[in-house]
């Protein structure tokens, strides 16, 4: 044994020292592991402090250590700290091993003597392992300065503007004909009651005109290849049937188009649009789209009214879907949310009772640019409601549907109550379970509604029915609910019901996640790298998330997250190149039988197969070192750097050493 190993045992205040006899462990390691190459063993109050790190660095220089074992917290927390400490003392950082005697020992045991023995065993394993470590060099790859942003809602627009303003190219992909997202559909925003379109459209115009932003609307990402810094993304540009170079956005085509269909997307089914259309007047880009499914020319081969009237001959019925590939270094997913389908709760009567509205329908109903010009009327188009019920938590906080709180519904319902009261003078009943108004100026808005005389009934609505029991209920809808603050069941007759439906992950979130190598949580939202400290990064390097794709949130939070994701991307671009962890899998071609079991298992699509030689190969830049393939390979042909068989087996041997050699009389816990 030629290695000179140093062992450093951390007290972590009382986190470790409260349960493990740290001084004894350190003494034992120095004495009993000397045979394994340990030349020095020390304990220190906080190993991660700069004094603790200096202790290690001093020993490396003065005692000529070639390996370091630190027994402290989990590698998740301080592995980087100690590796960097070793690196600045000119020891290859991968020759340092951090073993956890906190999370895996002191925090989970109460028996002090057994916990001390376990700490010895863990350190013994670390010492045996570190002897087999190799000096590794991180992989350096260049970063392409362009960025792809998927989703042109407010989060995506914000991120795009931040990056473009910093001088880098952005490709902003949007599935719909225009950017703007859900925010473009809203009338007012809470709690300030700003006109949603008035504050959004300047940003949309900026994004549309920005020289660094390439808008790819009516487009979808179909394929993502490559890895952080070097993604090649294939985007399907759906045929618009309008030549964007010739079109001036004059609007004659959609004026002349004789065909109307219900607009299920932008008008939430409340209004109609032409078959050649822009979803709303301030749409960016200004070019219309022909809805081929409903166009008379595509269905019957006749009409062509738009083509006849177009002054610039921009209509092109021969356009085909086009696939383009862009190269980008980073990707931001801001794909947003879907509204909970309120038909799933039959007792709320949506679809059966005509004057039950979803929240999105009401947004359009109250919008001055909406189908009724902002008049809040019933479905007959003229009756102004005298009493309106607003139901909170529809599909949210309910184990039968979505267990989570959708965050925005309380404030949105308060906004609705205010708009109804202001424009119609109707009595408004809000039915809530808990009133959640947690951010700046939100509670003040609730106070304002209380002052306006809105009725607040604490209770989850049991059902909405048109079955009258009294003459007063005749011809109206009755909301049946327990007023839990009074402790009585109440039946409240109303003319209009608004269901504040919750937010749900996009229907295709799972497929999109798979496309980009992201995982979804149990509720279906994309999982962030860390829920507190890294909410915009993901476990896949170079891919970030922003807005409701990560979880329900309101507009300010989406904007903040969009900007946050942009800052992270800019940080990466500025580095010009990125160093990747050298902990990677590699395949020994001599041993590979070409069975391809590993190909399908790799969660990062990092394994490619050479048909000619019938062997698999790992792309080291894509590989994240998870080890799935290493465990799966039936021929044992794959090894993970930093996790070689030799290293793992000697660590196990080391763990067992305490018992095997009978060096302590106390048993090590199994």
């Amino acid at each position: 044994m030629t290695e000179r190993i140093g062992v450093y045992v951390c007290h972590c205040g009382t986190n470790i020292a409260g349960v493990v006899d740290v001084a004894e462990v350190s003494r034992w390691a120095g004495e009993h592991l000397a045979g394994q190459g340990v030349v020095v063993s020390r304990d220190y109050k906080f190993m991660c402090s700069s004094l603790g790190q200096e202790l290690i660095q001093k020993d490396i220089k003065e005692l000529g250590l070639t390996r370091v074992v630190v027994a402290a917290c989990s590698p998740h927390l301080h592995e980087k700290t100690f590796r960097n400490a070793c690196a600045s003392a000119d020891l290859n950082p991968y020759l340092c091993e951090l073993v956890s005697i906190r999370e895996q020992d002191s925090w989970v045991h109460t028996d002090k003597s057994a916990a001390t023995d376990k700490a010895k065993a863990i350190i013994s394993g670390g010492v045996a392992r570190v002897a087999h470590h190799e000096a590794l060099e991180p992989l350096r790859v260049p970063i392409h300065p362009a960025t792809l942003i998927v989703g042109g809602g407010i989060a995506g627009i914000q991120a795009a503007l931040e990056i473009a303003d910093a001088g880098y190219r952005v490709y902003l992909v949007e599935r719909e004909p225009s950017i703007g997202g859900h925010m473009a559909q809203f009338d007012k925003t809470f709690p300030t009651l700003d006109c949603s379109a008035c504050i959004l459209t300047p940003k949309m115009v900026d994004a549309g005109n920005h020289p660094n932003i390439t808008l790819l609307t009516w487009s979808e990402v179909v394929k993502v290849d490559g890895y952080v810094g070097n993604f090649a993304v294939t985007i399907n540009k759906k045929a618009r049937y309008v030549n964007e170079e010739l079109c001036t956005g004059c609007g004659i085509c959609w004026e002349k188009c004789p065909w109307k269909v219900t607009d299920e997307v932008f008008e939430a089914g409340l209004g109609k649009r032409k078959v050649i259309y822009v979803p709303f007047p301030q749409a960016v880009p200004k070019y219309p789209v022909i809805d081929a499914e409903n166009c008379a020319y595509f269905l019957k081969g006749t009409c062509k009214a738009c083509e006849k009237f177009c002054p610039t001959d921009a209509i092109d019925f021969t356009q085909k879907d086009e696939q383009i590939t862009v190269e980008v270094g980073n990707i931001i997913l801001a794909t947003g949310y879907d509204l909970f389908d309120v038909r799933r709760i039959p007792q709320y009567g949506y679809g059966r009772l005509p004057n039950v509205y979803t929240s999105l329908e009401f947004e359009r109903l109250s919008n001055a640019a909406g189908p009724t010009g902002g008049n809040i009327v019933l479905r007959d188009g003229k009756t102004v409601p005298k009493t309106v019920g607003i139901v909170h938590c529809v599909g949210s906080r309910d184990q039968n549907y979505n267990p989570y709180c959708s965050v925005i519904c309380c404030m949105q319902s308060l906004k609705f109550a205010h708009l109804v009261h202001e424009r119609t003078g109707a009595e408004v009943y809000n039915f809530y379970i808990d009133m959640r108004t947690p951010f700046k100026d939100y509670e003040e808005f609730y106070q304002r509604l209380l002052a306006e005389g809105t009725h607040f009934v604490r209770g989850k609505v049991a059902e909405i029915t048109d079955f009258a029991r009294t003459p007063e209920e005749e011809g109206r809808m009755i909301i049946q609910v327990e007023d839990t603050l009074i402790g009585k069941q109440r039946r409240i007759p109303v003319d209009m019901v608004i269901l504040s439906a919750g937010l749900e992950p996009r229907q295709d979130a799972k497929e999109v996640g798979k496309l980009f190598g992201l995982a979804c949580g149990t509720a279906g939202w994309f999982i962030e790298r860390h829920p507190k400290l890294d909410p915009v990064a993901t476990m896949t390097e170079g891919i970030f998330i922003a807005g409701c794709a990560q979880g329900p949130k309101d507009i300010p939070a989406s904007v903040a997250q969009g900007a946050g994701a942009a800052a992270r991307v800019l940080g990466k671009i500025q580095q010009k190149e990125i160093s990747l962890e050298p902990v990677r899998a590699s395949i020994n071609e001599q041993q590979c039988s070409g069975c391809r079991i590993c190909n399908g298992l790799c969660p990062f699509n990092a394994i490619l197969f050479h048909e000619d030689r019938m062997v698999s190969e790992v792309n080291p830049a894509l590989c994240q070192g998870c080890g799935t393939c290493v465990a799966a390979c039936p021929a044992g042909a794959i090894s993970g750097t930093g996790f070689s068989n030799e290293q793992i087996l000697s660590q196990i041997e080391g763990l067992l050493l305490v018992n095997v050699n009978g060096k302590t009389t106390e048993a090590v816990p199994a």
Partner: protein
């Protein structure tokens, strides 16, 4: 076990066999009470009863008519957003109340439930005329006449036997019941 269980823990333990979640998960949203078709006859709403159990208000709960009024339609259980089996909780409270011999004066429920269980344990079958003795004394003359007419009709159509019947191998059935009603005292 030597430590005295709190009332709420006793009820939670007895509810262990229901398919739902423990009542500690109740949000107090009132879906159960808003849904309940019999709530106007109850002195406390089902939601309030859950709140009272959680706060160990044993006397108030045992003095309530709520669970004796429950019609077992299970609508509350179906709609509960916290996944609590509220209808089965009502049965648990009935059992507890009879076990402790403590319930509101003047209710039909406890007598009816006791008569029903005794009858089924003794014969293996339900027999309406015996059950009727628990509620007939409270009927008005007109109601009694109506009841007699219904009973005659049932007998004439062969839907109700004149004398109670027993099931075969009654002993085995009774042994089985003894195992599943550890409170025992019902028979």
């Amino acid at each position: 076990m030597t430590a005295e269980l709190s009332f709420s823990n006793e009820i939670i333990n007895m509810m262990y066999a229901t398919h739902g979640n423990p009542i500690s998960l109740c949000l107090q949203c009132g879906t159960c009470s808003g849904t309940c078709p019999a709530v106007e006859f109850m002195d406390h709403t089902p939601r309030a009863i859950i709140g009272m159990i959680r706060e160990n208000l044993k006397e108030e709960v045992l003095a309530s008519n709520t669970y004796w009024t429950c019609a077992s339609c299970y609508h509350c259980t179906v709609r509960c957003p916290a996944g609590i089996d509220i209808a089965d909780m009502m049965y648990v409270l009935k059992r507890y109340s009879i076990w402790k011999r403590s319930y509101k004066e003047g209710l039909i429920g406890p007598d009816f439930a006791e008569a029903f269980v005794k009858m089924v344990v003794n014969s293996g079958k339900s027999y309406e005329p015996i059950l009727a003795t628990t509620y007939l004394p409270r009927f008005t003359a007109a109601q009694l006449v109506q009841e007699a007419l219904t009973a005659t009709g049932l007998v004439l159509k062969g839907k109700m036997p004149l004398l109670p019947k027993k099931i075969r191998r009654l002993k085995n059935f009774q042994r089985m019941v003894k195992r599943i009603i550890p409170l025992g005292e019902a028979s």
